[in-house]
Amino acid sequence: MPRCLLRLPFAALLAATIALGGVSPSAAQKAYDPGASDTTIKIGNLMPYSGPASAYAIVGRIEQAYFRMVNDQGGINGRRIEFISYDDAYSPAKAVEQTRRLVERDEVLLVFSAMGTPSNAAIQKYLDAKKVPQLFAATGATRFGDPANFPWTMGWQPPYQTEGRVYAKYIMATKPDAKIAVLYQNDDLGKDLLKGLRDGLGAKAAMIVAEDSYEIGEPTIDSHVLRLKASGADVFISITTPKFAAQAIRTAARIEWRPLYVQTLVSASIGAVISVAGFDNAQGLVSAAYNKDAADPQWRDDPGMQRFHAFLDAYAPDVNRTDNSAVYGYGAAQCLVEVLRRAGDNLTRANIMKQAAALQGYAPDTLLPGITVDTSASDFHPIERLRMMRFSGDRWELFGEVIGGELDK
Amino acid sequence: MSALLTVTDLRAYYGQVQALHGLQFEMKEGSMTTLLGANGAGKTTTLRAICAMVRSTGSIQFAGTPLLGRSTEAIVKLGIAHVPQGRGTFTSMTVEENLQLGAITRKDKEIASDIERMYAHFPVLKQRHTQQAGTLSGGEQQMLAVARALMLRPRLMLLDEPSFGLAPLVVRDLFRILGKINREDKVSILVVEQNAQLALELADHAYVIETGRIVMSGTATDIASNEDIRKSYLGY
């Protein structure tokens, strides 16, 4: 823990020290909501362990393992974390049922890192009515950072729209007369990111000369790539999940289409996408990132990533660590632990939200240098900054400044 | 001649319904025997019981081998060919394929020559050998069914209502060939017929079944000449 603090900006360090040091005075005034007690903190979670989206369930397994590690190290302020994770099969109806079970039967203190836009959207209203925190929802849809309407809901990762704006900024700065072709997955990820891109381009949205969407049921997306190439675009933005991202990278290389290739961060993982598509095919790819890549050799000596790997060795040795879901789960879990630590003995749901909305400059082990978690009473998007990077050799090379794509409300 | 087929105390059931009530008869090697009786008397069931196509108890001995407890296909391999009512040809396959299927259990090399022999028996099949069986006329299908059964080189052939739905002339022709096969190829034939008159002309032995029991037996000539039997059971 102290080693980790060294990397924090000074202000955050100060805040963290106060929070940690403040344990003894507040001990006099212990306060609990359902799910918290002197000995345990119950945390609920939803994951698609079954069904078509089960690939993402790895996040839940990592979070479970992370909390086990925290418990082994003495818990949070002496309390054990009881992590209750249910399968929602990525179905909104099931998500509501399981959330009610978590809240009404298991009486969890909060729901943490529920996976996916549909599930989170389905449970948002219920949790809001019950005043149960919906913390660090595992989706980049913008609606999960809206404190005015949903004061109990907070996302975590950079909103998809933010990412879209970051690419818009980058393209306008480097290729002001670009002709852009966009391939996007026909779901919330694709549509939100595309919206961010369009908003970011603003008056120059006409730069987008071709858009093509695909459904996740399609075996291959070759024909989409062909069609986009035929549009004559010189910038290609691939808003795709891993399988389709790798297909597009490979197909574009095979048909010798060499535009400025922008790959969205959800599929920028070296281990899970780039290496599978082939390093040769991926040279020059551009993406944005907020997490370190577990398979990127440049982080081999990074203390944060060393802790990450040590954690995996000890608590989740069978997990494929190149899957960027592992990095994601680790970072989100670490961030939640930080919030709970700061909440001290005041484990009321209101205080949890207050603490979650007061993170400034906090950096979990897995975030890129210069990227931090920042929230406030009016900012429920914890991570809103990204760094551009270009693929070269066998690694991503970061370039340029940290780009903020804060959404204008 | 020894008994080729001996049936003792045969009872057969469709679900809860008992269809045969202790049937008893036997059949000599090389003979042509007919089972007579009204609709629903149990004639078809008897043939199905021999081929293990209906649940039954009792005893069926075929050339000394007990049949009960064996699967249909195992019984066929012993040399019993069954031509079911409604013919049982493979309608979606060609005539030639049907004949090959008849010999599917044989391992010898004479199948091709046997097919030629069948074409000699039934010349019309040769004309239609590439045609789908389903497109044949009723009489042609019946001939194909018989030919297919003979391809097994059976010791015993079971025929269920071969005359059903056929024109009288066609029936005559068919029965003529059956008689020839019985005599020349030494195939024993057990035939179930509604058309008792016709069957008795050809068969050497006959049994009369009523509600699942044998009520009368004798040589075909005896039965045919017995006025009472003819009137009460055979209806002609």
């Binding site: 909104p92 109806a93 009610r100 836009t117 549909p118 959207a121 948002q124 219920y126 849809a141 919330d188 | -």
Partner: protein
Amino acid sequence: MSALQDSVTRAPAVAAVPKGNIALGYLTSTMVVILLFAVPLFAKNFVIFQMTIWLIYAIAILALNILTGGSGQFSLGQSAFYALGAYTSAILMEHFGVNYVLTLPVAGALCFAFGFLFGLPALRLSGIYLALATFALATAMPQILKLGVFEHWTGGVQGLVVTKPDAPFGLPISQDVWLYYFTLVISIVIYVFAVNLLKSRTGRAMMAIRDNEIAASAMGVNVSLYKTLAFGISAGTTGVAGGLGAIAVQFVAPDGYTIQLAIALFLGMVVGGVGWLPGSLVGSAFIVFVPNLAEEVSKGLSGAVFGAILIVVIFLVPHGSRQVAYKIQDIVRKIRK
């Protein structure tokens, strides 16, 4: 096509259910209804919510049962009708401020019309081909709901949030309990309607088609009319279930109505027993509760555990819970004698 008919003759897709045996006796039915009415007195809100969902899926399975058990047609596309009903209710409530009770008949009527129209081309198809056609419908529906043209009403990929109704007339019961009773009453109405439908002239005509289409048409049954009618009724009923589902879950989104839902409803019908209407409740319980059970056994393998349980069930009772019910009925009769 005739290969299919061959297969139908040797193992009927739908084993004929004797007409008197599609429902429970009066005594048993009354007991079940009393039990269902009493549940909220003992159960927590969460359980009541679960039971509401259970009833809603039971209606949807019942609807499929009318189609498959009643007229012998097979559908893998019920999720499409369910979605249509859900969106109809959601859009009427959220965009037009229509009272939730009134949205249900609209959802039912719309789905009836849609199902009836879909039944027309489906007339020419049977067995596997019908399965494929309905399957196409099920895959198309989420994609249609996502279309940009409809986004203003449907909310596109983000879906629509629905407001949960309070109990009327100031009744001192929670929203959950109210919705449960509301659903229960609708379920009973639909169930009684379905039983009477299948026992009526229409039902007899449908079952005649199920058992032998050619014979039925020879008997003068208007095969096309009754087959499309069955589709319409089934779709309409599913639509009502969908509307109720939207109100109970308070949310509709394309991801909620994928082929997975259609498959779940199909499994519910098989486990409950094809053609035996009370089995819909059993089947619904299977698809609502067994996944939870499987998950308790193993998270990583919950799919496999679910599959294994399903196999065990169809091994033990290949005809579904109907088989168990008939057995019990036999035993009861023997004891009485």
